[in-house]
């Protein structure tokens, strides 16, 4: 594939081990620009590992991974600035304030300082921006983590349980940033597979690291979902 390939994500035979354990085995999928891929599977199926490979934090052990046409891990440096990862950890320092954390990330991503207040306002955290992260509730920390993930306006959002700890109001608040209306290409995992499929164009179902379904989100019906989580 050339760098101007229309697919943002191209996985072919992706395999990843942790010691003796195989976390991902021969996973193949393509995600076009602007589309949303829902990654489904039970705990330990390999969803988070897949996101970390896509985030350039883990090396693939076999197969090929291309993001924006650039092959990983060799060309990882070329795509890092275009990724936004929202994972289980907020990637925020507990002893710094929300604003200090975001300013730090803004410096790393060469983002103008004014953008920090912009995203703080977008997640309704301006009022608590100068409180240490350790003093905030889990929901507030998650809102800051959303702000951190979108600070540099990434083209590809990697969202691992993005709405965990968020109440319905906060979920609506972050929708323009990480939801379908964000216009970014998205890979999303969720505890709620039906909700994830509703906002997805494509689905990848994993069982013990193997893809048991890869195709349109509408191709997975209730019985297939129940079987996947059985």
């Amino acid at each position: 594939m050339s760098p101007d390939s229309p697919a943002v994500i191209e996985l072919a035979g992706l395999t990843r081990h942790f010691g003796e354990r195989t976390a991902l085995q021969d996973v193949t999928v393509e995600v076009p620009r602007g589309a949303t891929l829902a990654v489904l599977g039970r705990n330990g199926a390999g969803k988070s590992t897949l996101l970390r490979v896509l985030a350039t934090l883990l090396r693939p052990h076999a197969g090929t991974v291309r993001l924006f046409g650039e092959e990983l891990p060799r060309r990882g440096w070329a795509v890092r600035g275009r990724l936004g990862l929202l994972g289980h950890e907020p990637l925020l320092y507990r002893d710094l304030t929300g604003r200090e954390n975001l300013r730090y990330h803004a410096r790393l991503h060469a983002v103008v300082p004014a953008r920090v207040d912009e995203v703080l306002e977008a997640v309704a955290m301006l009022g608590r921006a100068d409180d240490p992260v350790r003093s905030l509730s889990r929901g507030m920390v998650q809102r800051l983590a959303v702000a951190r993930a979108v600070l540099h306006a990434p083209d590809l959002l990697l969202l691992d349980e993005p709405r965990s700890n968020l109440d319905p109001g906060a979920g609506e608040l972050v929708e323009p940033l990480i939801g379908r209306s964000s216009a970014a290409t998205r890979v999303i995992t969720s505890h709620d597979p039906r909700a994830a499929l509703q906002e997805a164009d494509l689905a990848l179902a994993l069982r013990d690291g193997r893809a048991v379904y890869a195709g349109p989100a509408g191709g997975l019906d209730d019985s297939a979902i129940s079987e996947l989580y059985a």
């Binding site: 934090l57 730090y104 990330h105 410096r107």
Partner: protein, 223 residues
Amino acid sequence: MRSAAAVLRKDLLIELRTLETVPAMALFSVTTFVIFHFALDRARLGGQLGAGVLTATLLFAAMLAVNRLFVAEREQGGFDAFLLAPVDRTAMLLAKATALLVFLVVLEVIAVPFFALLLAPAHLGAGLPGLVVMLALGDCAFAVIGTLVSAIAVQTRARDLIGPIVGLPLLVPALIALARGIGPLLRDGGSVLPPGRWVAVLALYDVVFVLVAYAVFDFLLED
């Protein structure tokens, strides 16, 4: 440089806010000097004996900082956040080594006067410029090697053990050069300048480990 400055600024801000590392180093050093003062029952330790006490104390105090240097990165996702950014990974090495260097300088600003008060000969004043030169060279060695060792240790479960086990043997040559260079400065009627041979050894050690650290640090951050 921009990203290294960002990481350094963040590290210094966290230390200023938590006061977890430098106060512990300073307290350890001062306590050690007090122990030597009473245990040896001598008001003054001149020459090589004084140099040995000073350098060994600073070395062990430095290990406290080495053990904590990457803890926030490991426990609070700092590594992932840094690796997700489009920056040169050497920036982390530069920032962490500089942070450790700053911690060591602050430690010495506190510890050396206590050493002079409790143990050092009256001659220390004349040898002070030479002492500053030797400590600066020693600090560079501690900072670079300490950063490398800390980056290795933090990836392991036994990081509190790995730091000293790997770090101390690597630092022994620097410690010897530092002690031998400082010894003549603390001798009554001794030299005002440190011996050139030991200055050269320490400077060479610094250069070698800066190059080694530059060559291998990227691999330490790799998955």
